[in-house]
């Protein structure tokens, strides 16, 4: 699983590299775009994911101890928190759509600052690509958690055999890791900028 996560690091890394390059080239546009992000929602999502990581870790721990019921509870909690994240994200996306911040024919951006409006479209393109890819990975994660729940209910895990739980845990934490970097990069670092 670690090797697979290496590939995921490189996969997301390509987008991070693109983001970095464009941020350096179109700094003002990046600031303008960044300042329209809703920090509160982003922060809530960060907290949600951190909690889900805790519940995931507890699920792995319970599986290792052979505690089926606790494992199920923790897995369900993780799943719920994951859906909460996706829900908040959906709210955010809807907000962007309503404010004409989605690139495409509907795009219309107005904000103070000395920037080229076309470049803001790129910021939002990368925003949607990166958070969208992240959300897609979360959906896959939710699927994996559901599979674990079913397998656990059937009594497939024990202190001797619980590596699937551990592997899914690694994947889930990885998705959390990506968000830990997405949050400051997209929401925070230009939030307060004096021009």
């Amino acid at each position: 699983m670690w090797l697979f996560l290496v590939t995921e690091i490189m996969f997301f890394g390509g987008m991070f590299a693109a983001y970095l390059i464009y941020r350096l080239s179109y700094y003002n546009a990046w600031v303008a775009g960044s300042q329209t992000m809703e920090i509160k929602l982003g922060a809530i999502n960060t907290a949600v994911l951190i909690c889900s990581s805790l519940t995931m870790v507890m699920a792995v721990h319970s599986a290792k101890l052979g505690n089926r019921k606790l494992t199920s509870i923790c897995l369900i909690l993780t799943l719920v928190l994951g859906f909460a994240f996706l829900g908040v994200k959906a709210v955010e996306y809807h907000g962007h759509w309503v404010h004409h911040e989605v690139p495409g024919p509907n795009f219309h951006f107005e904000h103070e600052g000395n920037y080229d409006p076309r470049n803001v479209s790129i910021f939002f393109s990368l925003y949607f690509a990166m958070t969208g890819m992240h959300a897609f990975h979360m959906i896959i994660g939710a699927g994996l958690l559901t599979w674990l729940l079913i397998a656990n209910a059937r009594g497939r895990f024990s202190p001797e055999y619980n590596s699937p739980v551990e592997m899914v845990g690694l994947y889930w934490h990885f998705v959390d890791l990506i968000w830990i970097y997405l949050f400051p990069l997209l929401y925070l670092i230009s939030h307060h900028h004096n021009g």
Binding site: F11, G13, I21, Y22, G104, D116, N119, I122, S125, A129
Partner: protein
């Protein structure tokens, strides 16, 4: 003690006859059967890519663009590239011979994740399906490199379908690489230390590292291209402030290491075969092993040498140029070490060895012309001409396909238990060599004189060389078609090979041909160094077996 205890009778169960029926093949988790599944599929794709090549060469017989329309020609060279690279070259040695041999060479029963291995093949076929669908519904005309903004904005062809196909086959590559890395780390037989491993393992391991680190970047690049084409995002679109060059950076970050994915396993094959037919340990084992790793790492540092004239800064071009010179060094180390292996060896000229000599010569030419291209000053003149085309065909066909044929001939007896007719195989090796040089050497001259690549028409003064090239291509085609015939023939009428027809070193030769499903009757315990040909030959002489040389 070189042969397995049980002397095989005709009826002994091996992996081929262990189970019958389509389901037993399509649902197998035996790495050897999966290797054959790959072999069958990539052979088909090789001939498909060859078909496109034939149309290209036919068009280029005459200066005017008279066989096909310009747009069609664009589709031909695009599909030739996509099919040959993604559906043949990238899987070729790792997925066929890597799958078959890696567990056997380390004394294991199978790869680390057998079901993932089968999934890998199905993913490969799915991706190939998308690409075939793209071909059948009108093709793609962007060039296999999918450069933006043509691919994202202007092309009218099936870019997304083809790109999706490539994306999916990328996962096949990643999973195979993952499997090989874990297998080599965790499943070696007792006594088999890293420095006793065959160099084929080192080569495939290094290639697998590249697969794991590089392919995901191609994946994300393709995703971004698809998103941009669908939603007009503008990441690579200059009208929206995007940079088309960013696509090229991301694309070549994978695609340059990809060429090392293609060639490293081939180099591993050469190491094995040259040792066998010189009856000598490979010279400088440590250096060859380390050079495989070096190529894998350095290969990631040079990608922008594909972009010297695309608009990158001159300073960046200089940096990449210098790095590109460095990456040639480990390859040169290998060539010198192979040559030194020949020195004072007992050389015989069986068919695999003919391919080895072809490889060393042709790869050296291809590699050296690569160094020429690394120099920015030269590249300015010959970039996007036939010089580049000749260069990469020398390394990929003269290098990689030659190594693939070498591997096919060397391990065919192990995989099928049958020997192929040596006379015909030598003839086809010679045909391939002659045909190849006749096809591609004129292209160096053409490129140097200025004929651009990807053009379906050219000035009349280039015709003679183009005709030579097409003539060579037909000889090359014959050279590739012959093995199809005699290999098929050998399955029915070939001589029984026995476990070790070439008296080669390596664990894979210490079990029956074809091997039993779980490879070894008992797990071997390795107490000897790799390439112990002196011991093998001494033991053979004591037994009265004829020793080469």
């Amino acid at each position: 003690m070189m042969e397995t205890a049980s002397h095989t009778t005709e009826a002994k169960t091996n992996y081929l006859n262990a189970d019958y029926g389509v389901k037993s093949w399509l649902l197998t988790t035996d790495h050897k059967r999966i290797a054959l599944l790959y072999l069958g599929s990539i052979t088909l794709f090789f001939f498909l890519g060859g078909f496109f090549a034939m149309l290209i060469r036919l068009e280029l017989l005459t200066p005017a663009g008279d066989l096909v329309l310009a747009d069609t020609y664009n589709k031909l060279f695009t599909m030739h590239g996509i099919v040959m690279i993604f559906l043949f070259l990238i899987p070729s040695v790792p997925a066929v011979f890597g799958n078959f041999l890696v567990p056997m060479m380390i004394g294991a029963k199978d790869l680390a994740f057998p079901r993932l291995n089968l999934a890998s093949w199905y993913i490969f076929i799915t991706g190939a399906g998308f690409i075939l669908y793209a071909i059948l519904t009108g093709g793609v005309d962007t060039g296999w490199t999918f450069y933006t903004p043509y691919s994202t904005t202007y092309s009218n062809s099936n870019v997304i379908t083809a790109a999706l196909g490539v994306f999916i086959t990328g996962f096949s590559s990643i999973f195979t690489g993952l499997n090989i890395i874990v297998t080599v780390h965790r499943m070696r037989a007792p006594g088999l230390t890293w420095r006793r491993l065959p160099l084929f393992i080192w080569a495939n391991y290094a290639a697998s590292v590249i697969m794991v680190l590089g392919t995901p970047v191609l994946a994300i690049t393709i995703v971004l291209v698809a998103l941009e084409r669908l939603f007009h995002l503008g990441i690579f679109d200059a009208r929206l402030g995007g940079d088309p060059l960013l696509f090229q950076h991301l694309f070549w970050f994978y695609s340059h290491p990809a060429v090392y994915i293609m060639i490293l396993p081939g180099m591993g094959v050469i190491s094995e075969v040259i040792a066998c037919f010189s009856r000598k340990r490979v010279f400088g084992y440590d250096f060859i092993a380390m050079s495989s790793i070096a190529i894998a790492v350095l290969g990631f540092l040079v990608w922008a040498h594909h972009m010297y004239v695309a608009g990158i800064s001159t300073y960046a071009a200089l940096i990449f140029s210098m790095l590109s010179f460095f990456v040639a060094i480990p390859s040169a180390v290998k060539v010198f070490n192979w040559t030194a292996t020949l020195y004072k060896g007992s050389i015989t000229f069986e068919t695999p060895m003919l391919y080895v000599f072809a490889f060393i010569g042709l790869f050296t030419i291809g590699g050296l012309t690569g160094v020429f291209l690394a120099a920015v000053g030269i590249d300015l003149h010959v970039t996007d001409t036939y010089f580049v085309v000749a260069h990469f065909h020398y390394v990929m066909v003269g290098g990689m396909v030659t190594a693939f044929m070498c591997a096919l001939h060397f391990w065919w007896p192990k995989m099928t238990g049958k020997m192929y007719p040596e006379g015909f195989s030598k003839l086809s090796a010679v045909l391939v060599f002659i045909g190849f040089n006749l096809t591609f050497f004129p292209q160096f001259l053409l490129g140097y004189m200025g004929m651009p690549r990807r053009y379906h028409a050219y000035p009349p003064e280039f015709q003679v060389l183009n005709v030579l090239s097409t003539a060579g291509a037909s000889i090359l085609a014959a050279g590739f078609l012959m093995p199809m015939i005699y290999f098929a023939w050998s399955l029915q009428y070939g001589k029984d090979a026995g476990p070790n027809p070439y008296r080669a070193a390596g664990l894979e030769w210490m079990t029956a041909s074809p091997p039993p499903t779980f490879n070894f009757d008992e797990t071997p315990v390795v107490t000897w160094e790799a390439y112990n040909y002196d011991e093998i030959d001494a033991a053979d002489q004591n037994k009265g077996v004829e020793v080469a040389g």
